[in-house]
């Protein structure tokens, strides 16, 4: 008896800190899928005169350009999903924003800055209204934003008069300020797409907001346990409304980038982006049940999906095989991440 007692008191319950290689992997588990896809990309990349096409700066630029719009949206979506919400209206809001951008500049004669501010404001309000309806009447966000999707497409058709709107540049009525076209361009030796720069800047700001601000902490709290958050004095309704305002803002930003990249506004643009964005968020390790997730994961998930599509196309895989391969790799990446998570007992 006595001896047992002594052993006990000399070994505190606190676990010994082992240096564990697994712990390192866990810390970066949201990046595992990305690393795997890049490794696969390098292995399976076609080569031309010994050059690995996949990791050519141009090709990397293509990948990150292609995902910049859905990436911007996915970043907004991360906030929503961490609160255990969902926003299906993002793609349609992108379409609406692209139409409004084009209309304001082409028909409205608005300048660059006023247009951008007006469209961002519109997107933010659109999200805000959805958040307010969902929060005030306690409706599932799924339903409210599904209605929002339809409303945004309807509004876009109204604004555009059922037409698509081309953006021409120049000085004068009916022409958009030429500087707007820079969104479709590339900088730094014509390599880095401007759309990607917008995406990365937005990603950095969002990462900071989520990780280092009071608001970010509230977002996690609301998703972690709404009742507990409310009892602890978290302004739950305000936070819930705010995250939809953020997705609205992000979608509008993506819409502006879209209009600038493609010189075009159409009510149909952005169809299906909601699923791609949600997929990027979830592949990045954010749970649809709320309370956990990371912005870095979302960024990794976004780029991973883009790199995957790229490597398949570089190899000229048939569409059928591309679909099958995408399916297989997404599941594989998810399984690996989950195995790592489980080994550390952090499983859901």
């Amino acid at each position: 008896m006595m001896s047992e007692q002594q052993i006990t008191s000399s070994s505190p319950i606190q676990p010994a800190k082992r240096i564990d290689p697994l712990a390192v992997i866990v810390r970066f588990q949201s990046l595992i899928g990305l690393v795997l896809v890049f490794a696969g990309g390098i292995i399976f990349s076609p080569r031309r005169h010994g050059v690995i096409l996949f990791i050519q700066p141009d090709n990397i630029a293509n990948i990150v350009r292609a995902v910049s719009e859905t990436g911007i949206i996915a970043i907004g979506m991360t906030f929503v999903i961490i609160t255990a919400g969902i926003d299906l209206s993002v793609g349609a809001t992108l379409g609406l924003a692209s139409v409004v951008t084009a209309t304001l500049m082409v028909s409205g004669g608005f300048g660059l800055i006023t247009t951008v501010l007006a469209v961002l404001l519109m997107g933010t309000c659109f999200g805000l209204i959805q958040g307010a309806i969902s929060s005030k009447f306690r409706l599932e966000a799924f339903i409210v934003t599904l209605a929002g999707l339809q409303a945004a497409r309807g509004l876009a058709l109204v604004v555009s008069g059922n037409q698509y709107i081309n953006i021409s540049y120049g000085d004068g009525p009916g022409l958009a300020p030429p500087i707007f076209a820079v969104l479709g361009g590339r900088l730094f030796g014509n390599v880095v797409p401007v759309a990607t720069i917008v995406f990365l800047i937005f990603a950095c700001i969002a990462t900071l907001v989520l990780n280092t601000t009071r608001f970010g902490r509230y977002v996690y709290a609301v998703g972690g346990n709404e009742r507990a958050a409310r009892i602890s004095g978290v302004p739950v309704s305000a936070i819930k409304i705010a995250v939809y305002a953020i997705t609205g803002f992000a979608s509008a930003l993506a819409g502006i980038v879209h209009a600038g990249q493609f010189n075009f506004g159409s009510a149909n643009d952005g169809t299906g982006y909601e699923l791609t964005a949600i997929a990027a968020v979830v592949i990045g390790g954010t749970s649809l049940f709320g309370g956990s997730g990371s912005m870095v994961g979302t960024i990794a998930g976004t780029i991973m999906l883009g790199a995957l599509a790229n490597i398949l196309q570089l190899n000229n895989i048939t569409p059928a095989m591309q679909l099958l391969a995408t399916a297989a790799i997404i599941v594989l990446a998810a399984v690996l991440q989950s195995l790592v998570r489980r080994r550390e007992g952090l499983g859901r």
Binding site: Q5, I13, Q14, R214, R217, G224, A229, G291
Partner: protein
């Protein structure tokens, strides 16, 4: 009476880096009520989880009737006649009481369809043995914590053929229900069922147990007789002698903080089962700890939650003042502005973010304070977390692990620590020590007393009569939502009970 029905030999279990059990031997005899005691995190629930098939041991084995048993799921254990009441009351809140009672063993017609009528009938019959206030058709989500505990008990009782494992079944029960439960347990034991009984209410042990095993730090610290002196039990439990559990009462009491005179709460709409507080007369002064006593359903939880704004929507009538000013308690935000903080009795449902870390949970109510100008300050956060660990002895001492992985008592400490961090002036506590071990209880009492001596007012609802009597300066008794009597601390248990039950003292 010497035949062993259920036993564990040398079982070891670890979760990630935490060693929960280190080679434990345990046995349960036929017809025996075997009390299992131990500090929070000692490994009691883990041991029971192994015997009921929730987890499998890393090393060692479980035996039934001396034969090795391999349980792959709780289903296997149940098939072997082992029923369990889990500490965390795992019920499906979106299903009815009857559906929960028969979950996994539904009654069906011969043609295979569910026999809902028979289940309702049978459920009502079984519930009546303990608590006739529960309607079997009600959704579990609409029940109080105490009522849920009754449902969990009844559910396990109905299919315990060989052994019954009860992990803190009485934590949310009041004396009446506990007595009825003990009667039922004695009946079961005499019919040959072995019962493992886990509790932190040491005074219950001599009443009900035949044998006592004490665990500490994942090992068995000793096996003794139930009528061993309490001091000896405590010594075994916490590994050191414990002096007085309750701190001395304060003699210096400040101004009145909360004052209620004929205060009634009018819900905006009728909510069946929700005992609206009415005609409450109650004062809490600065520096004072006031207890709320009552039988289950007397309305203690409702009074606290109506003050804090988490109950059903409604408004107060009559006089309610806080700090001398009429209280405007329309919302949680308003209550917090008035200096109130609330510790809920539903720690998993409304108290904790189970999948988030202990640290993040702790600072939840002071996010504003640890983020001056909107940016989180890691230093302030770490200071707050450190002070919580210091004040409440949360184990393991690691703020990184998910709070859902803590033992029940340690989860309770987190809920308590979190609200105290907010520096409230009036603390509303609902069953604050549910599932907390004696040693930790003593420390919590001491902390509460210390906070009070700094001018904090505390209003505490508890189902543990000794706790109310030992801790509180005054005790207000509620019955059917009304305040019916008031005693000063140190009163006899009998007097309080009589008032709570509506009998002349």
């Amino acid at each position: 009476m010497n035949q062993v029905v259920l036993s564990a030999k040398g079982v070891t279990k670890h979760f990630g880096g935490v060693q929960a059990l280190r080679g434990v031997d345990f046995d349960l005899k036929v017809g025996e009520i075997h009390a299992l005691l131990g500090e929070n995190g000692a490994g009691k629930s883990t041991l029971m989880n192994l015997m009921s098939g929730v987890h499998t041991p890393d090393l060692g084995e479980i035996f039934i009737d001396g034969k090795p048993a391999r349980f792959h799921s709780p289903r296997d254990a149940q098939a072997a006649g082992i029923a369990t009441i889990f500490q965390e009351l795992d019920l499906v809140s979106s299903l009815s009481v009857a559906a929960n009672l028969f979950l996994g063993r539904e009654l069906v017609y011969p043609h295979g369809m569910l026999d809902g009528k028979a289940m309702l009938r049978e459920a009502r019959k079984r519930l009546e043995a303990i608590d006739r206030s529960i309607d079997p058709a009600q959704l579990v989500g609409e029940l109080s914590i105490g009522q849920r505990q009754v449902v969990a008990i009844v559910k396990a009782l109905s299919y315990a053929s060989r052994a019954l494992i009860m992990d803190e079944p009485t934590a949310a029960l009041t004396v009446g229900e506990v007595d009825r439960l003990f009667d039922i347990m004695r009946g079961l034991a005499s019919s040959g069922v072995g019962i493992v009984y886990i509790s932190h209410r040491l005074e219950e042990v001599p009443q009900i147990a035949h044998r006592v095993t004490v665990m500490r730090d994942g090992k068995v610290a000793g096996v003794t007789e139930p009528n061993a002196p309490q001091a000896q039990l405590v010594q075994l439990l916490v590994g050191r002698p414990l002096n007085e559990l309750y701190p001395p009462r304060s003699d210096r009491v400040g101004d009145v903080l909360l004052r209620m005179r004929q205060a009634s709460f009018r819900p905006h709409r009728a909510s069946p089962g929700w005992q609206a507080p009415s005609k409450i007369d109650l004062d809490v002064h600065r520096g004072e700890i006031v207890g709320l006593a009552g039988v289950m359903g007397a309305g203690r939880t409702e009074l606290l939650s109506a003050l804090y704004g988490t109950g059903v929507p409604g408004r107060w009538q009559g006089e309610v003042t806080i700090g001398g000013k009429p209280a405007r308690l329309r919302s949680i935000a308003a209550a917090r502005r008035a200096g109130l903080a609330f510790v809920t009795d539903d720690r998993r449902g409304a108290g904790l973010m189970l999948r988030m870390s202990v640290g993040l949970n702790l600072v939840m109510s002071i996010i504003r304070r640890i983020s001056p100008n909107g940016l989180l300050s890691a230093r302030r956060q770490d200071d707050a977390i450190k002070s919580s660990f210091g004040n409440f002895d949360i184990r393991p001492k690691n703020p990184e692990i998910a709070v859902g992985a803590l033992s029940g008592g340690n989860q309770q400490k987190v809920v308590l620590a979190k609200e105290v961090l907010g520096n409230p002036s009036l603390l509303l506590l609902d069953e604050p020590t549910r599932g907390v071990d004696v040693g930790a209880k003593g420390e919590i009492y001491a902390r509460l007393r210390k906070f009070a001596s700094h001018g904090l007012g505390i209003l505490v609802a508890s189902s543990e009569m000794p706790e109310l009597i030992g801790l509180c300066d005054r005790i207000v008794v509620l019955r059917n939502g009304c305040s019916v009597a008031e005693f000063s601390g140190g009163v006899s248990e009998h007097d309080v009970l009589a008032a709570a039950n509506g009998r002349e003292g």
